[in-house]
Symmetry: C2
């Protein structure tokens, strides 16, 4: 017998982005009653070591804590798992191997959605952590679709992206939005027609400052939420 | 060894109110980093039979489903459990008995907070489901504090409260806010100086319509979130 649908969300990275993702799940699901909404179990435990530091080699690996969350979500009966954090997908293979429930990949969801968008952009900017950028997931998959990629320079990451990201994490959304807008504008200046906001803190910050270029952005958290919701709508 | 702090949230009643509660948890916790935020595991499964109908005797009991959620939260390692739904507290005793983790009571949290507020109101209105009102939790505890209580009439519940509540549940927040404002104004007209919004859909709706009397309202979900956050701040 197939397991009843239950979305496991491995959250906490950060706790606010986890809420934002849950809101997107609800908004993506047409529902006339509570009962039609997507059932989920959410592991929102932010006491997890810093992923950016781990990837920079200056901190311990979060993998044991990520595996623990995946174990708990499987025990709770999750039929599918989503991780609304781009950087955490660094450990995707190890987590997938340990998980009975399939883990949806945030990059797959994003690129599938982007490949359906019209008109197809020729040049796309990617705002992401250094770890995500170095992994090259978005760049490789965009290149496969014959889309040119523009990414932040090392200097821009240090000056704008990192302070913006940590501002959001401490709840200073507007301050974060201002730093991150500088980053966005630099990518537009280098010819990006659209931006992939490949770090779940970024869209939250742009919404807080009502950034004028939001219609030109592509949000992996949104793409992942829509994919989860579609799965639920098929199964319900 | 004491279990590490992990808040279990028995949600899904409804899914939007569960998000609202999680947001309050974050807002109530002073945190400079993700790691200082309250760790939680959230059971947000809205496929649970209608509590209002169950209490009216026109539908099955939600108790088996509530017990299942409590079991899952305990298995996930919850050290404390909160239920951000007033009506579900009807089954509080049975759930408490089945739960290894203590379940915080929403009415205790609210009345403790109200007893500390100044100036103390002489007359308080309670907006709640028929089930919550018939249980008399708020009325009895308010009377113990020598506070007079004003509650909706049966007719007001049918005309305003019920349609307002179900509008929120289907995502029509402004429509819900308009219905529920009629209910609130009726209680103010009967002399209420403050209102206890004892149904987790109500504050969401009043925020959506920017209700002018929001500073006169008392929100059990907020009181419960603050109590959870205080516990976490002591333990962390």
């Amino acid at each position: 017998m197939a397991k009843p649908f239950l979305l496991g969300v491995l959250g906490g990275m950060g706790p606010l982005a986890t809420l934002d993702f849950q809101r997107r799940l609800l908004d993506a699901t047409p529902a006339q009653s509570d009962q039609q909404q997507i059932p989920s179990v959410v592991w929102n435990v932010p006491q997890i070591v810093d992923r950016q530091k781990a990837l920079a080699g200056t901190g311990p690996s979060p993998l044991p804590q990520l595996l623990y969350g995946i174990e708990k979500l499987n025990q709770a009966g999750a039929s599918h798992i989503a991780i609304p954090c781009n950087t955490a997908h660094h450990w995707y293979d190890a987590l997938s191997e340990a998980s009975e429930a399939p883990i949806l990949h945030i990059v797959d969801a994003t690129l599938d959605a982007l490949s359906l968008s019209a008109p197809k952009p020729r040049r796309v900017g990617v705002i992401a952590t250094k770890g995500t950028l170095e992994a090259g997931w978005y760049q490789n998959r965009l290149a496969q679709q014959d889309i040119e990629v523009v990414v932040p320079t090392e200097e821009e990451l240090t000056q704008w992206f990192v302070p913006g990201c940590y501002a959001v994490k401490r709840g200073a959304l507007k301050e974060g939005g201002e730093w991150l807008s500088l980053q966005a504008n630099a990518l537009f200046a280098r010819g990006a027609q659209k931006l992939v906001l490949a770090c779940t803190e970024v869209p939250v910050a742009f919404e807080a400052v009502n950034a004028p270029f939001r219609h030109l952005t592509f949000d992996p958290a949104q793409a992942l939420a829509e994919r989860c919701s579609q799965l639920w709508q098929i199964k319900r």
